[in-house]
Subunit: 167 residues, 2 copies
Amino acid sequence: MSIYSETNAQFIHGLTNLSAILEKAATWAKENGKTEESLLTAALAADMYPLVRQVQISTDMAKRAVARLADIEAPVMEDTETTIAQLQARIQATIAFMQGISDAQLDGDDERPIVVMAREHELRFTARSYVYKFATPNFYFHFTTAYDILRQAGVPLGKRDFVGAIF
Amino acid sequence: MSIYSETNAQFIHGLTNLSAILEKAATWAKENGKTEESLLTAALAADMYPLVRQVQISTDMAKRAVARLADIEAPVMEDTETTIAQLQARIQATIAFMQGISDAQLDGDDERPIVVMAREHELRFTARSYVYKFATPNFYFHFTTAYDILRQAGVPLGKRDFVGAIF
């Protein structure tokens, strides 16, 4: 497996763990008389994205990373989720898209150019530098922050939920 | 460069960004009449590690990952830091250790066994699965949580500080 196929597998694994974490959050909310909305709108700071955006961006980072590496279009998703069930559907659709990409589509020259538009700026990478300097840190940033928001809200989670099944 | 050398470079890059983030935190604390202690003891939940531990563990995850991959001993560091300057020294010592490991030391069979003791449990990996399933998510987990704690405390930081210089 190339580093590109490994990255795909690694992000699918992370999204699977994020899905399980959200399932625990939904159960906890129900058992403790909290609304899902109170969780989805929770943020760590007034100028940070709330949980719903952190989950949306986690899926976006994952699907766009592998789409760019495979040089195909990622499915567009409207950012309209207002329930955990809707976020779960988004995660499952993202995983299904990613699982449908073959190793052959992901493999290729380490030096092939990858261009990311960040606001007005063009960020120019090679496939390899894109994986290590952009895709991986950004994916884990939003996934971890989603976890951190839920931990702060009181959902009983541990590092094991974040790392998931290792074998 | 092998994925092992890339991982070393990636974690050094992350620790460099963490150092710059802590520098901004120290400056912010001074300018806003906050004590460094109030930042270092801040946590996102009562049963989560405070900032000082998140930084310590970020360095531990990084140094232990590359030490295991190179099959050498990582330097032992006492967890006694009480100031940002002391954490900066720890980060610099960690980076110096990691920079001293050659690509040749890190390279090797993807299937070579890596064993991690997690409390009472032995986690058994191959070098390759260790990078993707343990070292990478764990490093970014603690680094992101350190960033999140400082964002919540009010330190003016942005995603750019986390991702750092890309080129």
